[in-house]
């Protein structure tokens, strides 16, 4: 365990509450690495952090081009924060394209740190600059810091016997060193990382280390920075913390669910951005007994998961929207045969291939209804990266106790974004264990005889003597489970399947409300919009507005207390990164005139946008009252 420490510092220090930095460069420049190193160190320092990686779908778009720009935004603070920041205060631009793509987002008067060596004619042309922005007056409204990073690392790495191309690759560590100095961060974590990553490649390790130190020393000794900045450690609740992305938390949540259910975990998955990392992580846990299969397609993946579930394992599959579309028919089978199953959809911008690395909340209605006929499935959604852990366990708790497939809706922002996670104590987590149907020596086993409370059917696993029976996609005779075409039986079974899922609502926590339970405006959200909504509501409340926030984790069935809650507010605003999918459900179910705020730009809401929308609703209502 490491305790926060800070690097030795000289010069003036400016205290700040919160800083948002965006590292931007070519996709070959290592910006994701730079960003995650800065994040790790910053989290370790004790700040609250929130990150937003933003990278192109192409692994290597043409070097220097606008589509090839890769960015990583981190916001860190001495207080509690919920989002990676609306607009960066500092932009690190490794080439002209990175400057061009990101400049518009920078706050007025913000700082720009550029690698001047990359501002040559070719790169300027590729970025579409008619003239060098460093040489005309176009950046006048900003604090511009020009550093010849390539030249500096060339000097630092002299004598290592590396090619100039290899040396050039270390310039991201130079930039990182500069930022470490500027924000009083220690280099120790990154130095350790370099040593491990490049173990056995001494010259490369040394080059990166030297680049990092050169950047740090540059900050310390040159006079271009008049000050450096201090963002004090945040006052997070007591606990042991680590930094975690949504995908990491999801994978760990499933490992934990398997432990708490005392059952084997089986994952079959077909690679797809941004879900693949869950497959990668669970595949690396062979020593925990977790079985994974990389299937031939998404249908095969969910098929294998259903097969494993039929065999008594915790069968699951992970995917994103296009794969989710392929799984529809098999999900219908899982509904019919009433087996527990968890399907993770890490949503991305669509339709079709859409923008594979960008976030969106467009798959809610597909998860709810995207199958033939009435085929109800519980749908749940984590609100923050760290919460993916608890919600992954929740997904399994519901699936096991109610014998039903469950959809877990994450998204690209949750999946790749990171935040500090207060690591739970394993011993405190409650069991979610269920039993298989016991062997029997009496004939007449009834595979669809339901639990009177939950309506779950027994889990009769092959290998159990006396329970031999047949299941399948054809309609079942109530209780007996044999094939039936009886009209009234079909109607009854349809009602039973719906009621079984509806009863999950008895088994979920009450909806929390942030702020008063009555007021002028309730902002109702779900999924990854949590941070932006919560921050906006905090700001509105601090200005005395009667605004509250409720955030749904359980989307199907909806919590039973929601209807009453909605009635206690004059207005309901529903920000969603889609065209209004949850709003459609809420309006239909509760007949409330919820107002939508819908943007699909492949990125999270900015706090200010939600704030402004809320203000406009409140303002209109004031106008109307007059």
């Amino acid at each position: 365990m490491t305790t926060p420490d800070s690097g030795a510092q000289h010069g003036t220090v400016t205290e700040l509450d919160r800083v948002t930095i965006r590292f931007a460069g070519d996709s070959g420049d290592g910006m994701q690495l730079t960003g995650s190193q800065f994040t790790a160190t910053t989290a370790l320092f004790g700040n609250d952090v929130s990150t937003l990686p933003d990278y192109p779908a192409e692994i290597r778009a043409p070097a220097g081009s606008l589509p090839g720009v890769s960015g990583f935004q981190i916001s860190f603070s001495s207080g509690d924060i919920h989002t990676p920041g609306d607009r960066p205060d500092v932009l690190v631009a490794m080439n002209p394209a990175a400057l061009k793509v990101n400049l518009g987002d920078l706050v007025p008067g913000g700082a720009i740190i550029v690698n001047t060596d990359a501002f040559n004619d070719i790169n300027l042309r590729k970025a579409g600059f008619a003239e060098d922005p460093l040489k005309n007056q176009s950046l006048q409204g900003y604090n511009l810091y020009e550093i010849p990073m390539s030249t500096m690392v060339a000097g630092a790495c002299e004598g290592l016997g590396l090619s100039s191309k290899q040396v050039e690759l270390t310039k991201n560590f130079f930039a990182l060193g500069v930022m470490f100095w500027l924000y009083e961060r220690s280099m120790a974590g990154t130095e350790k990382w370099i040593a491990e990553k490049f173990a056995g490649k001494d010259a490369i390790a040394e080059a990166n280390r030297r680049a990092l130190h050169a950047g740090y020393a540059f900050g310390e000794t040159t006079e271009i920075f008049h000050t450096h900045y201090r963002v004090a450690a945040a006052h997070l609740p007591p606990g042991t913390y680590r930094n975690i992305t949504g995908n990491e938390a999801t994978a760990l949540g499933f490992v934990m669910a398997s432990k708490l259910a005392e059952r084997d975990l089986f994952l079959a998955s077909y690679p797809i951005t941004p879900a693949s990392d869950i497959l990668h992580q669970l595949s690396s846990y062979k020593h925990l007994g977790i079985k994974t299969v990389q299937s031939e397609d998404e249908i095969a993946a969910i098929g294998a998961a259903v097969g494993a579930a039929y065999g008594g394992a915790m069968g699951m599959t992970t995917t994103s929207g296009p794969g989710m579309a392929l799984k529809a028919e098999m999900l219908g089978l899982a509904v019919m045969v009433e087996l527990p199953l968890v399907v993770v959809d890490v949503q991305r911008a669509g339709p079709s291939t859409g923008m594979p690395t960008k976030t969106e909340q467009g798959d809610l209605l597909m998860s709810m209804f995207g199958r033939n006929s009435d085929s109800p499935i519980p749908v749940i959604a984590p609100a923050t990266p760290a919460e993916c852990f608890t919600m992954a366990i929740e997904a399994w708790r519901i699936a096991l106790h109610h014998m039903t497939p469950v959809v877990f809706l994450s998204d690209a922002f949750l999946a790749t974004g990171a935040e500090p996670w207060s690591i739970p104590n394993v011993a405190d987590l409650p069991s979610i264990k269920v039993e298989n149907a016991p062997a029997s020596d009496k004939p007449g086993f009834r595979p669809y005889q339901r639990d009177p409370e939950t309506l779950a059917r027994p889990w009769a696993v092959p290998g159990t003597p006396g329970l031999e029976h047949r299941i399948g996609g054809l309609e079942k005779l109530d209780e007996l489970g044999t094939v039936s075409y009886d009209p009234d039986n079909h109607h009854r079974m349809n009602l039973l399947r719906a009621e079984k899922v509806a009863r999950v609502a008895r088994d979920i926590p009450p909806t929390e409300i942030y702020g008063d339970t009555t007021g002028d405006l309730l902002i109702l959200g779900w999924g990854s919009t949590y941070g932006s909504i919560r921050s906006a509501v905090e700001r509105l409340q601090s200005r005395g507005k009667r605004v509250s926030h409720a955030h749904l984790r359980y989307l199907n069935p909806l919590p039973t207390d929601l209807g009453e809650m909605l009635k206690n507010f004059k207005h309901v605003l529903m920000p969603e990164l889609n065209a209004g999918q949850l709003r459609m459900l809420i309006r239909a179910k509760y007949l409330v005139d919820a107002v939508g705020f819908n943007l699909v730009r492949g990125k999270p809401f900015q706090i200010g946008e939600i704030e402004a929308k809320a203000e406009s609703i409140l303002g209109e209502s004031v106008e109307a009252a007059k």
Binding site: M1, T2, T3, P4, A40, A43, G189, L236, P237, P238, Y241, R242, N243, V255, M256, D264, F266, A268, K286, H287, L288, G289, I290, K291, V293, S295, E296, I299, A300, A301, I302, G303, A304, A305, V306, G307, A308, Y310, G311, G312, A313, G315, M330, G332, L333, I423, V426, P462, G463, T464, G466, E468, H469, R470, I471, G472, G473, L474, T482, V483
Partner: protein, 343 residues
């Protein structure tokens, strides 16, 4: 329960209480009967046997077996079997499929189940037609076949199923005929005894929508001359007079007559199920009447570790390697990477 303690089961034990609902005269009845007859021979407890099917007339078979059974969705039975067998290596898994189910909608899963060597025994009922949907062309319908969906005759070249699975690295490949009950039983038994992905094509008659699809060579009166019963280690001889044989000339098979032009039995192609090179399996699979007798029997049977064995082996290996470093601590796993403490 050890095998010796198992009660001796009979065909009757494997019959479920459900009424069989195929058209009278359908070849599926015979396949079902041979399946029920074969099951007791494995010495596997009833509850350890699972029948998984796709959709089609063939897909109904699990309902008639008094074992565990799962009638899944069209084309995907192999995927469910893959997951089941991975999760439960202790079960004996059979997959029942049709020519449309396995080769059309489920074609992708078929080749991957074979290459993975999933320990499943797949029986494909090939009636060269879509039976359940009332008579459309299937991927095995011959060119020119007139069906409801191809009123002027299909213009598509059929798939040779055994050629396809040989290319997909199937470790056990066999063919039989619905009405050749003893041979069919023998093939089922051998498929069941094989460890790994077994593919058994059964030439099945759909007397309603494609009656007599195989009659030209399976009929009792002609089968001796028009079919070749493969026997491991034996020269390929056929014909009512047992005087016809197959000679392999390079990669080209030829029909020869023993005793003519100096041909003796020693010149004939000797069948080797365990031939590691699937090329010769494919040559055999492409032999077809009227140019050749149609081969039935075990085409290929090669040992290869199964998917579930390899999966379990990796897990046990990883567990052992991890155990050497001390017990797994989930608390530590959650705390992997850098951590810090807030007091």
């Amino acid at each position: 329960m050890t095998q010796s303690e198992l009660p001796v089961l009979t065909k009757k034990d494997f019959e479920s209480d459900q009424d069989v609902r195929w058209c009278p005269g359908c070849g599926d009845y015979s396949i079902l009967a041979q399946t029920q007859k074969t099951m007791p021979t494995f010495g596997v407890a009833k509850e350890k046997i699972v029948f998984i099917s796709g959709i089609g007339c063939s897909g109904r078979l699990p309902y008639y077996m008094n074992t565990y059974g799962f009638h899944t969705i069209h084309g995907r039975a192999a995927t469910i079997a893959t997951g089941l067998k991975a999760a439960r290596p202790d079960l004996m898994v059979w997959v029942i499929t049709g020519d449309g189910d396995a080769l059309s909608i489920g074609g992708n899963h078929l080749i991957h189940a074979m290459r993975r060597n999933v320990d499943m025994k797949m029986i494909m009922f090939n009636n060269r037609i879509y039976g359940l949907t009332k008579g459309q062309a299937s991927p095995t319908s011959p060119i020119g076949k007139k069906t409801k969906s191809t009123p002027l005759g299909t213009i598509e070249t059929p798939i040779i199923p055994l050629n396809l699975v040989a290319a997909a690295e199937a470790s056990f490949i066999a063919r039989s005929v619905d009405t050749h009950s003893e041979h069919l039983q023998e093939m089922m038994q051998r498929a069941g005894e094989h460890s790994g992905a077994a593919f058994l094509e059964v030439l099945q008659n759909c007397n309603i929508f494609n009656d007599g699809a195989w009659r030209d060579f399976t009929d009792k009166s002609v089968k001796e001359d028009r079919m070749l019963v493969l026997k491991h280690g034996e020269p390929m001889i056929f014909g009512a007079e047992r005087n016809k044989g197959i000679r392999l000339n390079g990669l080209q098979p030829e029909v020869v007559t023993i005793g003519e032009n100096g041909i003796t039995v020693a010149d004939l192609w000797v069948h080797d199920e365990t031939d590691p090179d699937a090329t010769r399996t494919q040559i055999l699979s492409r032999m077809w009447w009227p140019d050749f007798p149609v081969p039935v029997g075990v085409f290929r049977r090669v040992p290869r570790p199964t998917h579930d064995q390899l999966l379990v082996e990796q897990i046990e290996g990883a567990k052992a390697a991890r155990a050497a470093k001390g017990p797994v601590d989930l608390q530590k796993l959650l705390a992997s990477g850098e951590t810090w403490t807030v007091e």
